[in-house]
């Protein structure tokens, strides 16, 4: 059975590229355009992994991550934070909030796919 991946980003063109990339790798994909949408989609779609943008309207990626980690039922959910801000403090903050990986934009598609597969295999 294919792993399910939720893509959360407010940039439509990034969503398009990620969606295409993940579908090509054989994952089942859903998308969300902002933080609140993301939480709703997690509940409805029950993904195995979330690709989560940090800078989003309504709820930032950090807040979404925090909310997801506060839910014990979602303990197995992998979270990969994506951000265009590459500052060390933000990487540290994301990891401290419970993200499994932190990827800065623009990312290499190969590496991102490898990271996603590695996390899902673990």
């Amino acid at each position: 059975m294919a792993h399910k991946i939720l893509i959360v980003d407010d940039e439509p063109n990034i969503v398009i590229s990620l969606e295409f990339l993940m579908k090509k790798e054989g994952f089942e994909v859903a998308v969300a355009g902002d933080g609140e949408d993301a939480l709703a989609k997690v509940a409805a779609f029950a993904p195995d992994l979330v690709l989560l943008d940090v800078m989003m309207p309504k709820k930032s990626g950090f807040e979404v991550c925090e909310a997801l980690r506060a839910d014990p039922a979602r303990a197995g959910l992998r979270i990969v934070m994506l951000t265009a801000k590459g500052r060390d403090t933000e990487v540290a903050k994301g990891l401290a909030l419970g993200a499994n990986a932190y990827v800065t934009k623009p990312f290499s598609t190969k590496e991102l796919v490898a990271k996603v597969k590695e996390l899902l295999a673990a």
Binding site: P12, N13, L21, T83, A84, R87, P106
Partner: protein
């Protein structure tokens, strides 16, 4: 009719009450809870108002009109020189000064000769003044009892003598409880303050009685007096006496500080320098109040007793009595008694200290038996001497009173006394501010001034009383006209007081300055001059310690203290001194300069600085420092002080510089943080399109199998995002140029309406594509503005593309209006889009903060358009803002000012 027994009993009861107050004050002082407040201090200064004020002011007013006021205006003005008085207090505390004689002697090298001279001048000048008080008490008694006062006591005594004896007893009880004269007499001060209140209340009472009881108020009294040719003159000032007026203000201004009793209450009895802040206005207020009714009472008396024999000096008593107001008369009598006793007690204490320390002790100490070699305890003897001096002074006062009787020499003594103590002014004030003043100068000035005073004022008053031949007044000494006592060297046109004051101060000041400049101070003097003049600047005892070099033994010094202070008190002081130097037992103290100075200061408090110095010298083998050496040490101390002041100034400067640096650093860090935020935001904005471009192009590159429509779609996205990236980079550069002020501007006359129309036209296709209506309304005849046409176009295009971005497809409409608004051109771009919340209306002008959340429109905005537009408009002196409500569209408005027509 008041019975003698009742009046005497009342007087005794009143004095008893004062004594109780004094005891209470002393007890509180002993317990460390001083009752001397700023108010008590200020009231105690009113010891200035003696019976000469209480009875005599009215008398002066009957002959001189308002000129009596000078005696009270002078002190009012003098007290405003608070700095002089604070300095005097500070020096006195530093040097343990006990009297005005001690002050002068101490300044000029602790000279016994100078101390003795000042004491003699003070005693000669003041004894008649004390006699005047005795006379006032007995005269008031006679009036109240309508009988000769001598009938009141057994025939071999007279009432005035009894009064003097009682006052002596009272003064001894008040003033010699402790030996150490620098220890304040707080009980006495409290009693004097009470007396001040009593005499003020009594005087105001009689004033109100005369003005409103016997006459119809001020206006009535003045009107009646004005109608009377003799009295009308009293209501005017005589401009021909301008010189006298000024001289009396000067004289009384000096007296308020230099009368021994005033020096006692102002300086020696001062508990806290800050009390002066109260005294500086409360005491003058007291003087004002006690003088308001003087002229009315004088006029009232003159009007009332017209055609009868009267003595204006006793109006305050005879006026109430003439109307049968015996209770009021009794109150006035008590008030007068207060005025007299207060003066006598304080003056006698001050004088007895001076007589004991500066006249008697030097002689006693020189005698073999009591001198340096003897080990006898002298503390009891000292108290005895002081008590004897009190008795002697009052006895002298009594004798003078007896001898003078009604003579002029008594009546006029008030101002004569003032003129005597005014002689202290040059040596005192010069000593506090002029380091070059020397002992020789002070001696010469005092002797000269005193001699002139004697010759031009005191002796003529004797002559007027018929005690001596008045030839030297009428014809001049030895018949030389230039030596006429009251027209010296032909100086006429002045009254006798001004004449004497002028000549005596002229001679005094001239000799003081002249002789000082011609003489050299010795080592001790130079040291003291430094200590007095620089009292506020002195910080360490270091120079003091080095100014004394020699050998002494603690045992001998301690023995000396025990001799003069008594064993218990000496031990107590030594223990305190040892404790202050963190030594358990004073016997373990080194007999160094500090110890010697301590011993000398303790002795000064008991026997005055001059005698103390002699005594310490008798047990301590002092090496004589030469003058040069002393001056070197003082010079060095001054240099060290100057250096430390410089250091202090430097360190202050440094501190300021550090603070400035810190602030600058803070600013830099803030700028840095902002820059960091900016870069981080810019990075984010640049990376976002790059992310799509890279991801999509990587996928296209790696997978040739991608379906052709996906391929086309992805390439489209890449193109759009690359355009976005380009636009972003251009705007960031534009923004950076604007912010750094490096943007290039081409300013010319611009027709804003035309710019709006052109911008609308250039975006016409965009609007039509989205089905949005665009209307452009330009008012007729708008003047041109000075601006950069391309930049204004940029602003217009930005606003229009924003508007079209946020309105609904096919339903949207945008209106552009250009019109005048006073001295500006106003451009509005209104849409019917979703509108903005008040928060959004603010943040949209911040960099990279875009309005709206519509995903589809987002890539079109960089978040820099509005900030750049605002920068441009503000550059031309205009404003850019938005008016909007959510759901009601938005109206962006900018204005550009018209050029100044002038």
């Amino acid at each position: 009719m008041l019975s003698a027994g009742f009046v005497l009993l009342l007087s005794a009861a009143y004095l008893g009450l004062l004594f109780a107050v004094a005891r209470y004050g002393d007890a509180r002082a002993d317990a460390g809870k001083s009752i001397i407040s700023a108010n008590v201090y200020a009231l105690s200064l009113a010891v200035y108002c003696t019976s000469w004020t209480f009875y005599g002011s009215v008398g002066r007013a009957t002959s001189g009109g308002l000129s009596f006021l000078t005696i009270y205006l002078g002190p009012t003005l003098m007290l405003l020189f608070v700095g002089v008085i604070v300095k005097m207090i500070r020096i006195s505390k530093d040097q343990r000064i006990t009297s005005i004689a001690d002050f002068i002697a101490s300044r000029y090298g602790k000279s016994q000769l100078l101390a003795g001279l000042v004491t003699v001048i003070a005693v000669v000048g003041i004894i008649p003044y004390i006699a005047l008080q005795l006379k006032a008490v007995s005269a008031s008694l006679e009036i109240v009892l309508k009988t000769s006062s001598d009938d009141l006591v057994p025939g071999f005594l007279d009432a005035t003598f009894v009064v003097a004896a009682l006052l002596a007893l009272f003064t001894i009880l008040f003033g010699t409880r402790h030996l150490d004269a620098t220890e304040r007499h707080e009980g006495m001060v409290a009693a004097v303050a009470v007396e001040s209140v009593v005499k003020l209340v009594a005087f105001l009472a009689v004033g109100l009685f005369v003005t409103y009881g016997m006459f119809g108020g001020f206006a009535d009294l003045f009107a009646r007096a004005a109608a009377h040719p003799d009295l009308a003159n009293l209501l005017r000032l005589d401009a021909s006496r301008a010189g006298t007026w000024a001289a009396l203000i000067l004289l009384s201004g000096l007296a308020i500080v230099f009368l021994p009793r005033q020096f006692q209450v102002i300086v020696v009895e001062n508990v806290d320098e800050s009390h002066l802040r109260r005294a500086v206005w409360l005491f003058p207020l007291y003087l004002l109040l006690i003088n308001i009714f003087v002229l009315p009472i004088a006029l009232g008396g003159l009007l009332h007793f017209q055609g009868q024999p009267f003595n204006p000096d006793t109006f305050v008593l005879t006026l109430p009595l003439s109307r049968g107001a015996e209770a009021l008369a009794l109150l006035v009598f008590i008030g007068g008694l207060s005025a007299a006793t207060g003066m006598v007690i304080v003056e006698t204490i001050a004088l007895s200290t001076m007589v004991c320390n500066d006249l008697v002790m030097p002689f006693l100490l020189r005698s073999r038996r009591l001198g340096a070699g003897s080990g006898e305890d002298l503390s009891g003897l000292l108290i005895g001497i002081r008590r004897a001096a009190i008795v002697a002074i009052l006895l002298l006062g009594y004798i003078y009173y007896r001898a003078a009787g009604e003579a002029y020499a008594l009546v006029g003594i008030g101002l004569i006394s003032f003129a005597a103590v005014a002689q202290f002014a040059p040596a005192m004030i010069g000593g506090m501010y002029w380091k070059l003043g020397t002992r020789a100068g002070a001696l010469a000035g005092l002797v000269g001034g005193f001699a002139v005073w004697l010759y031009t004022l005191l002796l003529p008053s004797f002559a007027k009383s018929g005690w001596i031949d008045n030839g030297f007044v009428a014809a001049g000494l030895f018949g030389i006209p230039a030596l006429k006592a009251q027209a010296l060297f032909g100086l006429t046109g002045l009254d006798e007081i001004s004449h004497s004051l002028w000549w005596s101060l002229f001679v005094n000041l001239g000799l003081y300055i002249g002789v000082s400049l011609l003489s050299r101070p010795d080592a001790v003097e130079a040291g003291q001059a430094e200590r007095f003049v620089d009292v506020f600047r002195r910080s360490s005892a270091d120079a003091d310690a080095r100014l004394w070099r020699g050998t002494a033994s603690p045992g001998e010094l301690a023995a000396l203290l025990e001799r003069f202070l008594g064993r218990a008190r000496a031990r107590q002081q030594l223990d305190a001194f040892a404790a202050a130097r963190s030594v358990d037992d004073w016997r373990a103290l080194p007999a160094d300069a500090e110890f010697v100075r301590f011993a000398e200061a303790q002795l000064s408090g008991a026997i005055g600085s001059a005698s103390a110095r002699v005594m310490v010298a008798s047990v301590a083998q002092e090496e004589n420092l030469g003058l040069e050496e002393v001056l070197d040490i003082l010079d060095e101390a001054t240099q060290v002080r100057a250096y430390s002041r410089e250091l202090e100034a430097k360190s202050l400067e440094l501190e300021a510089a550090t603070a400035e640096l810190r602030a600058a650093n803070e600013r830099l860090r803030e700028v840095d943080r902002m820059k960091d935020d900016f870069i981080s935001t810019v990075t984010h904005e640049l990376r976002t399109p790059l992310t799509s471009i890279r991801a999509l192009s990587e996928m296209l590159h790696e997978d040739p199998e991608i379906a052709s429509d996906d391929r086309t779609r992805f390439l489209g996205i890449i193109v759009v995002e690359a355009e976005r990236l380009t636009r972003l980079i251009n705007q960031i550069l534009d923004m950076a140029k604007l912010e750094s002020g490096r943007a290039e501007w081409t300013t010319s006359a611009v027709d804003v309406g035309e710019v709006a129309r052109e911008a609308s036209e250039s975006l016409g296709q965009l609007f039509r594509d989205k089905g949005v209506a665009l209307e452009c309304v330009v008012a007729e005849g708008l003047p041109t503005v000075l601006a950069d046409r391309d930049r204004l176009t940029q602003v217009m295009i930005n606003l229009l593309s924003n508007a079209v971005k946020f309105v609904d497809r096919d339903k949207g409409s945008v209106q552009v209006r250009v019109g005048g608004d006073g001295d500006r051109v106003r451009v509005e771009v209104e849409d019917n889009g979703p509108g903005l919340t008040p928060e959004e209306a603010v943040v949209i002008f911040e960099k990279f903060r875009q309005g709206g959340n519509t995903m589809t429109d987002k890539p079109q905005g960089t978040g820099l358009g509005l900030p750049i537009s605002r920068q441009i408009v503000e550059y031309f002196g205009g404003n850019l803002w938005v008016e909007s409500r959510p759901g009601a569209g938005a109206r962006f408005i900018f204005t550009v000012p018209l050029p100044d027509r002038t």
